[in-house]
């Protein structure tokens, strides 16, 4: 029971701790195994074309997961993003249908603003009024989805109503790489910088890790919460435009239930729902894992009807394994602390 205070050596690292600290490596390892397995069954998996395809189809998920990550880090959750995607997508599509000559980049801006407004509403309800995030976003999901149906009157906006330039937003490519991938890479870089090298970014972690402590050290919690939900809303709005451009149609039930996929990507990537922790690399890998599953299952001739089940199973498995590992790591920590 020797207790050393001031002269501790660096914490001894055992395998388990190492695994936990670099749990992204575990995820990466799993992804590589999965890729090898898929490749053995279907050689057309790891071809340049398919990889680009996969990346293009995963880009929107990646962008949204970044936003969801910071929401989860502050101990929140946002269930409304599917509805925000639909609302911003629908309004933008109607704008394009009415003014075919509009600059596509203006459309992106328009969608982002709509999404940000939605996000601000959520942020105010959570940060100022003090509603629980799950309740507030559940309610607003309903409201935004209802608004989408109302503004569209149940009608679709289809590809023939969209200008070429608008469809090229998500369909076109630069240097042979789809615009969506560029956008996703751009946001990854921005988030990496924002979360690791700005004070506000670190305050997001601080608020999630220990809200009381953040309050006494002068961090304005409500400001951070408002910011986080606004960013999430803005990203959802942007993705709404990209989504509509990519699938060349806007409907009332666009992206219905997509929030669950996004949250799943974050949780697979090791973001804790209890707040405070979550790394960009992990979230990226989580999103990629889901992207690979979506891409590979059809290649393996798995019936599309199995995909939901497999996804649900993998998510549960991942969080449970993660929780068991974490429990054992915590135990070794507390033992080391004591002896």
């Amino acid at each position: 029971m020797e207790i050393k205070v001031a002269h501790t050596e660096n914490p001894k690292k055992n395998m388990l701790t190492l695994f936990y600290q670099f749990r992204e490596l575990g995820l990466l390892f799993f992804i590589i195994l999965l890729c090898i397995g898929v490749q053995m069954r279907n050689p057309s998996f790891l071809t340049g074309e398919n990889i680009l395809d996969l990346a293009t189809n995963t880009s929107i998920l990646v962008i949204l997961s970044l936003g969801m990550m910071i929401v989860l880090i502050t101990r929140g959750i946002d269930l409304s993003i599917g509805a925000v995607i639909a609302l911003s997508g629908m309004l933008t599509a109607q704008l394009v249908a009415a003014n075919p000559s509009i600059n596509p980049l203006l459309c992106l801006l328009f969608g982002t603003i709509i999404g940000s407004v939605c996000g601000i509403v959520i942020g105010l309800l959570i940060a100022r009024v003090g509603l629980l995030p799950i309740i507030a976003t559940l309610a607003l999901m309903n409201i935004f989805r209802g608004l989408t149906f109302l503004v569209s009157d149940g009608e679709w906006v289809s590809s023939y109503q969209m200008s070429k330039g608008f469809v090229a937003l998500a369909g076109g490519s630069f240097l042979g790489i789809n615009h969506l991938i560029w956008v996703a890479v751009f946001f990854c870089l921005v988030f990496f910088y924002f979360l690791n090298y700005t004070r506000t970014g670190r305050q997001i972690y601080a608020v999630g890790s220990n809200p009381q402590s953040a309050a006494v050290s002068g961090i304005k919690q409500s400001r951070i919460l408002l910011l986080v939900y606004t960013i999430m809303g803005g990203l959802s709005g942007l993705c709404g435009v990209l989504w509509v451009s990519k699938f060349a149609s806007a409907q009332g039930d666009t992206a219905s239930g997509y929030e669950l996929t996004v949250i799943a990507a974050c949780i697979l990537g090791g973001v804790s729902i209890a707040g405070g922790s979550g790394k960009l690399g992990g979230v990226l890998l989580g999103a990629i894992l889901l992207g690979i599953l979506n891409n590979a299952l059809p290649l393996l001739n798995v019936s599309p009807f199995w995909q939901n089940g497999i996804q649900g199973f993998i998510i549960l498995l991942a969080v449970i394994v993660n929780s068991i590992v974490k429990r054992r790591v915590d135990r070794t920590h507390s033992l080391r602390r004591a002896g």
Binding site: I3, V5, T8, T198, S209, V216, S334
Partner: protein
């Protein structure tokens, strides 16, 4: 003369709706002194800290820093002026690194790009920790460190803000003797470098060891400031509690019966090791030791809340195994939790519902609850422990600390128990209510319960117990029959370096 005081408070009052948390407070802090601040729980100490650190704004009064009048809008202002606080419960960010905890909210940034300069922060963190004589890895995650190590990080944080005034709120509460010694050393070093320190503690030894002056708070007021070498222990206690305490302990009647609870070499790696003792019916066995010595862990293991790896628990001579509190109570063991509000009571509930919570099965048939029986039981046991309230429907959070504790005791009485484990039953209870709780504890023993009485306060351990166990770092360091035992003997056993063998005095 103007600059003798680094911090002066003139008539600071802080009123919350319905209460004055701080009333016309005068306070002066000299440069390079360690100033102890003492007072009972609820005397206004934490409000005092929060005013100085800018968490609260005072309702009235002025504050002067280095002779200049100041007012803080938020904690950032105070931090910029060189005031830092180390709180009672470590307020770190468990998921973040040591460096980040040290530099939170005053990060080192690139002068033009405003990006965080991690390399510089890690370097400075290492230097700071080195200065404090510690080699904790700045990149380690905070929740992998021990409480003592986290305490050091908090101090490093205070230093990194270039604080000229550091407030330490019960920093030794969760530390072992050796860790406290380390903290004293660091605190003195800071003082010698010219930092002024306000040191808040319940432990008299902290004050005598460190402080040159002491200020006592009571009922939200400053009762007085003395030089430490000029005030006696008794006078200090009078100042803190407002009157002399003598004869608050009921008379002992040694009428112990048969051994009821026997614990044989109970061990749980990291918490406690080789714990053996027995309690007789009608006996009060005191258990003391520093906070963190493993007392609560032992109680909770006996009560089935936590597991133990080795050892045996005998009740009336036959071994029992309690895998949950529910089973423990069925076996006849009751536990009064240390943290009344978090673990003991449902504070939003009425007295009635709290008292009957543990005994619902007795008050129901086929799970149908008999309301009349429930009321009757609540009334009976509530009156037995003399809860000060108008009706059994009063909510528990409207009661004073002492009365809340009585509700918790009444809850235990509803069960058919043989052994009662009391974990710090008088913590945060005012002195008048303490006497009432002592009376109840003595009555419990006289009624034939075997009582294990855990407490950190020496006077009540000496005043109440028939026998005394002293725990140190997870082991039983000494056992005394309470005849002629002195505080010094217990302290020596609890803090001494050498393991003390069984003694009787």
């Amino acid at each position: 003369m103007l600059n003798e005081f680094v911090l002066e408070l003139e008539g600071i009052t802080k009123a919350f709706p319905g209460v004055k948390a701080l009333d016309n407070m005068q306070f002066q802090l000299k440069k390079g002194e360690i100033h102890a601040l003492m007072g009972e729980n609820g005397a206004g100490k934490s409000t005092f800290i929060k005013i100085i650190t800018g968490v609260h704004e005072p309702t009235e009064g002025d504050m002067y820093l280095f002779g200049e009048k100041i007012s803080f809008k938020n904690p950032n202002d105070a931090e910029k002026m060189g005031i830092a606080a180390i709180y009672q419960h470590v307020t770190s960010y468990p998921d973040l690194s040591v460096t980040e905890n040290i530099f939170m909210n005053h990060e080192i940034r690139h002068p033009t790009w405003k990006t965080l300069n991690w390399r510089e922060m890690h370097k400075q963190a290492r230097e700071l920790l080195c200065e404090l004589g510690s080699s904790i890895d700045p990149k380690a995650q905070m929740n992998t460190l021990s409480v003592a190590q986290q305490q050091i990080i908090e101090i490093a944080k205070a230093i990194s803000t270039k604080a000229k005034i550091i407030i330490m709120d019960e920093p030794t509460a969760a530390l072992t003797a050796r860790e406290s010694e380390e903290l004293y050393r660091i605190t003195e070093k800071l003082r010698d470098e010219g930092t002024s320190i306000i040191f808040i503690s319940h432990r008299f030894e902290d004050m005598y060891r460190l402080a040159s002056r002491v200020t006592v708070l009571r009922d939200s007021k400053n009762i007085g400031t003395w030089n430490v070498d000029e005030i006696s222990n008794d006078k200090l206690i009078v100042a803190m509690v407002g009157r002399e305490i003598n004869q608050i302990f009921p008379d002992k009647k040694m009428s112990a019966g048969d051994t009821v609870l026997e614990v044989k070499s109970l061990s749980n790696l990291g918490d406690f090791e080789d714990i053996s003792f027995s309690v007789k019916s009608g006996e009060i066995l005191g258990m003391t030791g520093l906070v963190g010595a493993g007392r609560t862990e032992v109680c909770q293991a006996i009560f089935g809340i936590t597991r133990f790896e080795k050892g045996e628990i005998l009740l009336d001579g036959s071994p029992v195994k309690s895998r949950s509190p529910q089973e423990a109570m069925q076996n006849g063991i009751g536990y009064l939790a240390e943290d009344r509000l978090e673990q003991g009571l449902v504070v939003n509930w009425s007295i009635e519902k709290n008292i009957t919570l543990a005994n619902l099965s007795e008050l129901s048939s086929y799970t149908w609850l008999h309301r009349a029986k429930e009321k009757e039981q609540a009334k009976t046991f509530g009156e037995k422990v003399q809860i000060k309230a108008t009706s059994i429907f009063d909510t528990v959070h409207s009661l004073s600390g002492g009365n809340q504790q009585k509700v918790a005791v009444a809850k235990l009485l509803t069960k058919d128990l043989k052994v009662i484990l009391l974990d710090e039953p008088t913590k945060g209870v005012d002195i008048g209510a303490k006497a009432a709780i002592y009376e109840i504890v003595r009555q419990l023993a006289e009624a034939g319960y075997a009582v294990l009485f855990v407490s950190s306060e020496m006077p009540e351990i000496l005043g109440m117990s028939d026998r005394i166990l002293v725990m140190k770092e997870g082991r039983i360091a000494a056992e005394f029959v309470n005849r002629g035992v002195t505080q010094e003997m217990i302290l020596e056993a609890a803090m001494g370096e050498e393991p003390v063998q069984k003694k009787s005095g």
